[in-house]
Symmetry: C2
């Protein structure tokens, strides 16, 4: 394998630093130097690590490096979307298996740069290691809030309507989890259209049934009622379980529990519902009673427990 400096030099040449005028010094010094953002805007910082054997199959690093790089960047971009922010620059650290390290590195870099370029984000620094272990990649992403402000997990209120940005479930069984689509554009449109009426937002990595609880907890211990028939079931769920012969609770269980959808879940002031863009899905309502419930077609509301699918299949 070529030296670390050669690898870094190769990446440095591929980086489109014109993606951001805020990067004054990028790859190649002790630190990157980032100019102050537009007056008063706050920075959004997020970091996510992907590890072989957990986020992608053990032994797949050589074949899948491009997809792994792309996903590593996308899941961080999704966190910036969840705040309705704009990504600026990324910092990537890798631990490369010694075998095929050069190929893995260049494919990984190609994947993460392709994804970064789609959203006018630059790679501004990183750290490269090779070792006798499996592939690990960590990305830290730096973004700016929109002029309207960052949208936090806290801020939901009783009576808020709950929406998701797309159909849920089946991400792992279909391999779709490798191609998350960061909802940066939609998040910006929502913030612009709803302003302070966009009360709380999160991106769905652990499944709606788990991630919605973060909003409920951070908003001071609220609850929610989800409407089973309104939850958009992804075609990947239907493909996996067989559309015709499965009851709704199985499908809802997968939609709420599978995870890695990377759709947005957000809570809005009900008076603002007319301002919403097309193509999103109202799934429920925020309640004062601190429980996460699902309303079934027979009108009954039942507690929703974590690991919902197992719960229902018992």
């Amino acid at each position: 394998m070529p030296g670390e400096f050669d690898l870094i030099e190769a990446i440095r040449k591929q980086v489109k630093s014109q993606n951001s005028s805020l990067i004054e010094t990028g790859i190649g010094d002790d630190c990157a130097v980032i100019r102050p953002g537009p007056t008063g805007l706050r920075w959004l910082m997020t970091t996510d690590m992907l590890v072989e054997g957990r986020h992608f199959p053990m032994g797949s690093a050589s074949e899948m490096a491009y997809q792994i790089g792309r996903k590593a960047m996308a899941v961080n971009l999704s966190d910036i979307a969840a705040m309705a922010g704009k990504p600026v620059c990324a910092f990537a650290s890798v631990a490369l298996p010694r075998e095929n390290s050069e190929k893995i590195f260049s494919e990984l870099a190609r994947g993460l740069l392709d994804e970064a370029n789609r959203f006018e984000t630059s790679l501004a620094g990183g750290d490269t290691n090779s070792w006798d272990g499996p592939l690990v990649i960590n990305i830290t992403l730096m973004g700016l809030e929109s002029a309207g402000g960052a949208v936090l997990r806290k801020g939901a209120k009783p009576g808020d309507l709950i929406f998701v940005s797309g159909p849920l479930g089946g991400s792992f069984s279909s391999g779709r989890h490798f191609r998350p689509e960061p909802r940066l554009k939609l998040a910006g449109e929502l913030k612009l259209a709803l302003g302070d009426g966009l009360h709380a937002m999160i991106d769905l990595s652990d499944g709606l049934g788990g991630d919605l609880r973060h909003i409920l907890k951070e908003s001071g211990g609220l609850g929610a009622i989800l409407d089973a028939q309104s939850i958009p079931i992804h075609q990947d769920v239907l493909n996996a379980v067989g559309e015709l012969d499965k009851p709704l609770d199985i499908l809802v269980g997968k939609a709420l529990g599978d995870g890695e959808d990377f759709e947005l879940c957000f809570c809005i002031d009900p008076d603002k519902v007319a301002e919403l863009p097309e193509g999103i899905h109202q799934v429920g309502i925020i309640t004062e009673a601190p429980m996460l419930m699902v309303r079934w077609p027979d009108g009954q509301c039942k507690d929703w427990e974590l690991g919902g699918f197992d719960h229902f299949s018992k």
Copy 2:
């Protein structure tokens, strides 16, 4: 092991968020929210990953987690020092071996928080994974430049005097590499005393013989002459090789090649030499001729090659 959320909650309680008034939202949302810095100041961003079997011995994660956490934070702080900046907040990602993961996590966190607190730096976010692999920790550090500006690797000029902040070599043989001392205070003093006369700076992770080349390259292809007798040899080198029976070239070879000293190397305008604080070491001079040379006691100058010690011992 307890769930990821429990571990994160435990850390969240230990973090001294009062370390920085710039952190508006720390651990626990999709992103951290960081206020703009003082008007006009640029951000300094650095990231470093430590991996088991490379930066610390394979199998040592359980016993050494505290030291590993402290070192992971310290090497990033050292990069901020190399820019004469002030650290603000850190983002830590970990891949934890499943065995002893809870103990490793809490000791790792204690180490990195202790080191962060020494320099009024807060942990503002992170990502926690457990897996069937060895320990990996990545830290991204966010700092601000000083009012006088960031000191880059580029900026050295022919005739500049080259200094190092302390004795070099023997860091690995002694275990000193686990206790790097980030030279943040000294870097701030240097910038304040020398202003624009502090032309270029780097922290020594790969050894002076390697890291000085970054300054020479980034400054437009310059060279340097180091004076063998002026290079401060660390006592750890003398302990390791035997003080009495080793020629100077062996000692200099270790001082220049061992690495992980985490001292500062900096180049200054020779007119500013009277402004320097005590306790630093002048080791050479920047030249126009693009070669890294060492002047030996007999007056001869010889090319210094990377991997200097092996070169001399041949």
